[in-house]
Amino acid sequence: MLSLLLIFMAALFFTGIIVRTKSLASGRKGPGILQPIWDVFRLFRKGAVYSETTSFIFQLAPTVYFSSVLMAMLVVPFGRSHGILSFNGDFIFFAYVLALGKFFSIIAALDTGSSFEGMGASRESLYSMFAEPAFFILMGSLALLSGHTSFQEIFSSLHIGSQISYAMAALATFVLLMISMIEGSRMPIDDPKTHLELTMIHEVMILDNSGFDLGLILTAGYLKFAIYGALIVNLFIGVIPFQYAIPSFFAIQFLMAVAIGLIESFMARFRMSHNPQFIVVLTSVSLLIFFGVLLILQKFI
């Protein structure tokens, strides 16, 4: 329950902070932190334009996408407190529920019959497919390390102490951060601010969405970032009491948003053909974590 509230609160500010960081870095003042949320509210109040090519899939998809993110949010724990749902193997459920949302957002893009949106759909499905093994190897190694199989038990029994485990936590943060960049269509993979449809991934998929549906998609995107941020926070807080854990949650979310803003300010997007290589690298980083776990457990003789 706690995690749900915290994720909602973090989602309110997260994108605003990214935008603000980018503005400051480029020497502008920038909009207020809550501007993205006002944008969403404005969208919720608007009517919509639908393409004549589309079918009911196009109208249903944003709902499914948003619901899948909500559902994924329910299994994320916060330190000692469970997510609303917590059961053995919930991280599999997490990944697959998010995949359901992606399935629908991809077919919605194909529903418009636009070549650009089809292209975005193709890229989205390819990149998210490559990110799956990294997540599963990461969670598998953490399950091995902790001896448990649910998010809450895994995170609350991670023993951060030895030097190797610090290195591992750093690597795991890197992997989760990068997965969140892929899922959230952020800089090194995708450039949300580009003006050319050919170079977009996520943005080009939702070109035809408008009004309420677009609002749902944007909200889901904000929530997704906060969810991955919460997972990263969970790597560190373990069983720390709440009076320290909650401030550190916001601190880490803030740092993550600033980091993303800085990355977007000072980096260019990778070439599209290099993206798969980059994402596969994540899998090998996950394998490093796995070997680290084997080292800690002294499975190597």
Partner: protein, 668 residues
């Protein structure tokens, strides 16, 4: 008394089949349909009754006479057999009724139907008996009847040379498979002097298990479609009529799995090594199958490759189960085999569903190339929704049934991660990554297929305007969806039966607390799938409420500034999966034929571009072997010279040889 009654029922099914064979031939053709329907109904209902009986109460055993050579043959319907019998009967029934509607468009070519009906009956009966027979010799005979009758069913459109070639390919590969099985049974016979399955048990008790099991695994694996024995599937499935492809992919392939599981029940040692082999092979089957599925544009071939992927997933379950026995871990045993058995059921449901709906598309549009389709959701909305449900389910996504079985198999893998030896840990973690890759790829595959066939705008102008198919074809599909939903939301019911089957399969490992634990987790998963559906419904209702009084305009798709788009400019299936094909170009071999634009060619003439993907194993493994075989066989072509005189001579030489060899006691 009970047993006598059941034996009478089984004999009755044989009698019914033979009788309807005669009747279909003898009576006027228009009665053929009713006779077939009656026979199919009788056979499936009666055997289902026996199977349910066996599943709920206890295994049934009885003997029937099987010719002079094998004599009295033991038939046994235990839980494993009953599970497969029920799956067979359900798929056969839906396939039969769907087929009635599907074959209507072939009504002009009436003469084919009698053969098709007779073969359908034989095919059904032989599959049922494959699950029951406990004698190697009789098993091979029935197995062969099954292969031959299914080949005849594939041959329905025999005037098409492609179909003929595919059927021949199937025929040859099935016989390579049966050779392995025959070798296995003869090996056991040689060692123990008996063809009965009990003899395999005694063989395994006293000899090394590894090689004989691998022999059987190869034989059954050809039927099941593990790589590199898979190459018949992508040929035979697209060639067969839709209801037959649905049944073949739904059940025939599963009988290979049945055979493997039956052999597993006799295994006595080498569990760990075999488990590792099976898991590794299965992971590669899964990834290879779905990679190929994702690039092919013939949607029936795509579904055939996807079958290979699902066989891989089932195989992972079997491997986990084997390693569970080896590690003495009942948890892994139940999760592995339980997941495999549930996935067998699930796959038979959604794969037949997908083949049926793909068949509906083929019937209406007369093309299997998704590149020529598009926008069918407007003209065939029901088929589109059915295909979408099948696609989401087969990608293993919640809230459908595919997720439940994949979740159980994932749980088995994670359970394996906690094992002691490092080699197993590494295997399981890599399998976890492999399975997740398979999941991601199947999302890509089915978004591509659904998106290109049903969404967007029609890419070509079809000669006949497609329309929704008849109710007769839709109802069997609704029925399948109902069962799928029941598996998705009440998996614990199915898991109880599977638990019973598994504890009877290996009574040593009976662990009721673990079973209830698994049933609880699966029911939790289904509950959360229900919750997900609930959330979707609530959000949808909120959306409708908010949008009730809002304006909604209809306009053209945003063309990014371009105002004259045409439907050929839509993203194609080929371009959708092209980046993937490029990344995996070592396995996905693309053959391209095109002429480049010459330098200084100011007025280019019309050019063509052809590209198709080749099967890696067929190209690099099977083709070189067959090429060399054909090459060496050429040297003996003088034997087959077309002169009757020489053929008579061969006969005489053979007879003389036999006579002299017997006289001189060389042949006894």
């Amino acid at each position: 008394m009970e047993i006598l009654f059941d034996a009478a029922i089984l004999n009755g099914t044989i009698l019914i089949t033979l009788l309807s064979f005669v009747l279909i031939l003898a009576l006027p053709r228009r009665l053929g349909f009713s006779i077939t329907m009656l026979a199919v109904l009788c056979n499936s209902l009666s055997t289902s009754w026996i199977a349910i009986h066996a599943l709920i109460y206890q295994p049934l055993e009885f003997t029937i006479r099987f010719g002079n050579f094998a004599g009295e043959v033991l038939l046994k319907i235990d839980g494993l057999a009953a599970w497969f019998i029920l799956i067979i009967n359900f798929t056969i029934l839906t396939g039969f009724f769907y087929g009635l509607g599907y074959l209507k468009s072939y009504a002009l070519s009436g003469s084919k139907f009698s053969l098709h009906r007779i073969m359908f009956l034989f095919f059904h009966l032989s599959m049922l008996f494959v699950c029951m027979i406990q004698n190697g010799f009789a098993f091979l005979v029935v197995w062969e009847i099954m292969s031959l009758s299914s080949m005849m069913l594939v041959l329905f459109e025999h005037e098409n040379p492609g179909t003929f070639k595919a059927a021949l390919n199937y025929f040859v590969q099935m016989h390579i498979g049966i050779t392995f099985l025959t070798l296995g049974f003869i090996w056991v016979y040689h060692q123990t002097g008996s063809f009965s399955f009990e003899a395999i048990n005694t063989y395994f008790l006293s000899n090394q298990n590894l090689w004989l099991f691998l022999l059987f695994f190869t034989g059954f694996g050809i039927k099941a479609g593990f790589i590199p024995f898979h190459s018949w599937l992508p040929h035979a499935h697209p060639a067969a009529p839709a209801h037959i492809s649905g049944i073949m992919s739904g059940v025939i392939v599963k009988l290979g799995i049945y055979g493997i599981l039956r052999m597993v029940t006799f295994l006595k040692s080498d569990f760990l090594l075999l488990g590792e082999i099976v898991i590794t092979l299965s992971i590669f089957s899964g990834i290879y199958g779905i990679l190929n599925a994702s690039i092919h544009r013939d949607f029936k071939r795509m579904l055939a490759y996807c079958t290979i992927e699902n066989i891989g997933i089932i195989g992972i379950g079997i491997g986990i189960g084997l390693m569970g026995i080896g590690n003495n871990s009942p948890m892994m045993y139940y999760l592995g085999f339980g997941g495999a058995l549930l996935h067998v059921l699930n796959h038979s449901l959604f794969k037949s569903l997908l083949f049926y709906s793909a068949g509906s598309v083929y019937q209406q549009c007369h093309t299997k190339n998704m590149e020529n389709l598009g926008g069918l959701i407007k003209s065939m909305p029901k088929t589109a929704v059915i295909f979408l449900i099948g696609g989401v389910a087969i990608s293993g996504l919640p809230p459908f049934n595919g997720f439940v079985s994949e979740f159980i198999i994932y749980k088995g893998l994670i359970e394996g991660v906690h094992s002691a030896s490092i080699s197993q840990i590494i295997l399981f973690v890599l399998s976890l990554a492999g399975l997740s890759l398979v999941g991601g790829l199947s999302v890509l595959t089915f978004t591509k297929a659904f998106g290109t066939i049903f969404l967007g705008q029609p890419r070509t102008k079809l000669t006949h305007k497609p329309a929704e198919v008849s109710l007769l074809m839709l109802v069997p599909q609704y029925l399948i969806i109902t069962v799928m939903v029941s598996v998705a939301f009440f998996p614990q019911v199915y898991m109880i039966f599977i638990g019973n089957i598994l504890s009877l399969m290996n009574p040593l490992r009976s662990a009721p607390d673990i079973l209830t634990g698994i049933a609880k987790t699966t029911s939790l998963v289904s509950l959360y799938s229900l919750l997900l559906t609930g959330i979707i419904v609530v959000v949808w209702m909120l959306r409708s409420l908010v949008l009730k009084n809002r304006s909604a305009r209809i306009g053209a798709t945003w063309g990014c500034g371009y105002i004259a788009p045409n439907s050929r400019q839509q993203y194609t299936a080929k371009s959708f999966s092209k980046p993937l094909g490029k990344i995996f170009n070592t396995v996905l071999i693309e053959n391209k034929q095109f002429e480049e634009l010459n330098h200084g060619e100011i007025f280019p003439a019309k050019k063509s571009y052809i590209s198709h993907y080749q099967d890696f194993f067929e190209h690099f493994l099977i083709k070189p072997i067959t090429d060399r075989l054909v090459f060496s066989a050429n040297y003996f072509s003088f034997v087959q010279n077309g002169r009757i005189q020489s053929y008579v001579l061969y006969g005489i030489v053979f007879i003389l040889a036999m006579v002299f060899l017997t006289i001189f006691n060389i042949v006894v």
